[in-house]
Symmetry: C2
Subunit: 249 residues, 2 copies
Amino acid sequence: MNQVIETMLNHRSVRNFQDRALSKEQIEQIVMSAQAASTSSFIQAYSIIGVTDQSKKDKLAEVVGNQPYVANNGHFFVFCADLHRHAIIAEMEKNDVLPSLESTEKFMVSLIDAALAAQNAAVAAESMDLGICYIGGIRNNLEEVQRILKTPEHVIPVFGMAVGYPEKINDKKPRLPLDHVYMENEYQQDEVVFKKQLEDYNKIISEYYKERTGGKREDTWTGQIGQMLEKKSRMYMKEFVQKQKMDLR
Amino acid sequence: MNQVIETMLNHRSVRNFQDRALSKEQIEQIVMSAQAASTSSFIQAYSIIGVTDQSKKDKLAEVVGNQPYVANNGHFFVFCADLHRHAIIAEMEKNDVLPSLESTEKFMVSLIDAALAAQNAAVAAESMDLGICYIGGIRNNLEEVQRILKTPEHVIPVFGMAVGYPEKINDKKPRLPLDHVYMENEYQQDEVVFKKQLEDYNKIISEYYKERTGGKREDTWTGQIGQMLEKKSRMYMKEFVQKQKMDLR
């Protein structure tokens, strides 16, 4: 197993950072790595906002639900699905692009582009022995995030990423069994096998939580996920996205 | 600059592969790397289908528009945004999850999860000196892809990835200027600066195409993107996604 794969397999989210800022060079290497990721038909439909203004970081930490690692870290990035520059291009080039630009397809493209870039950024940071944590919690209130970051129409801040020197290293969370996530030639059709895999995984996760909490936490994965999904969270999203003129048709 | 970052900065899409299959071990390392990526609230909302059946690969190559590298490669992966297992979990755990599961928010989560996993897979493959190419072209006809791969409701095949031993190495495509994609504290508000950055980039891209084609191709980036976006491509997507019971509310 090579060093690149080892870096990726060693990933865990870090939520406690030392009070030490990233250098300009580190930030540039992270952003350059992000930019080197693939992009759908060369569209480059994302932007990255680095937040260094402490008052803005504090406000973002509030949106997320008072997570101190959003305010206190080595650097805070926000990754945006971004079709704004493409709307400007249409003005420059006198192309009629809005029917296509505001489609579900292009909404998907911009989300995927932002995520591909972000994952390269994450791997780059971890390769420098920095820790990272994705912050989906910025989607708790994108109206507010939009005010803080002044993002225009055709842009959606999709997640943040806190990066920094780890203060505390968490355990690695075991993933779903490989043969549950990875199938060959067609989707797993046998529901009995499918459920058996989930139950096997539940045992692994129960054991993991028990060990971490000295026997206190008894959770299974399916229990945890079922409960989480029962909560109707961020149900304003469709309205927000469409107000940004994305996913319209 | 470390080896991990070098691997990522060295990325280019490969579209010509040697006739040599990946080993089981290589495939496993790629999938394990994909699984190690971050996932929103531990939801793991994606699946990966490896396509080894040549007749299926040939059919997928047709969907994409007769791209030979979809049929001929070392391995072909399809990454799916997947909330199907979460619907099964709701049955197992007797949770009422559909209002949340079928929301725009969870649609976004599943797309992002699939993309984060895929980018780790891409970096893993490239770290083993394999080449990769993302295949967004499977979205040309997802009805057909769904028939080929037998994906159920709450699942959307989002892109393929051809992986293999490179036969031919392309040049690296220059990306947008770093300070165009990366901003600090707020979105770039000055449209004059914004357009200037795009024009500067146009010069770089024109030069790149000229060099590659011995002076024949005269394209700019904004010209190419404006024309591409004028085409109303994959406008069936919203209907397809909603038929899969995603992005409904």
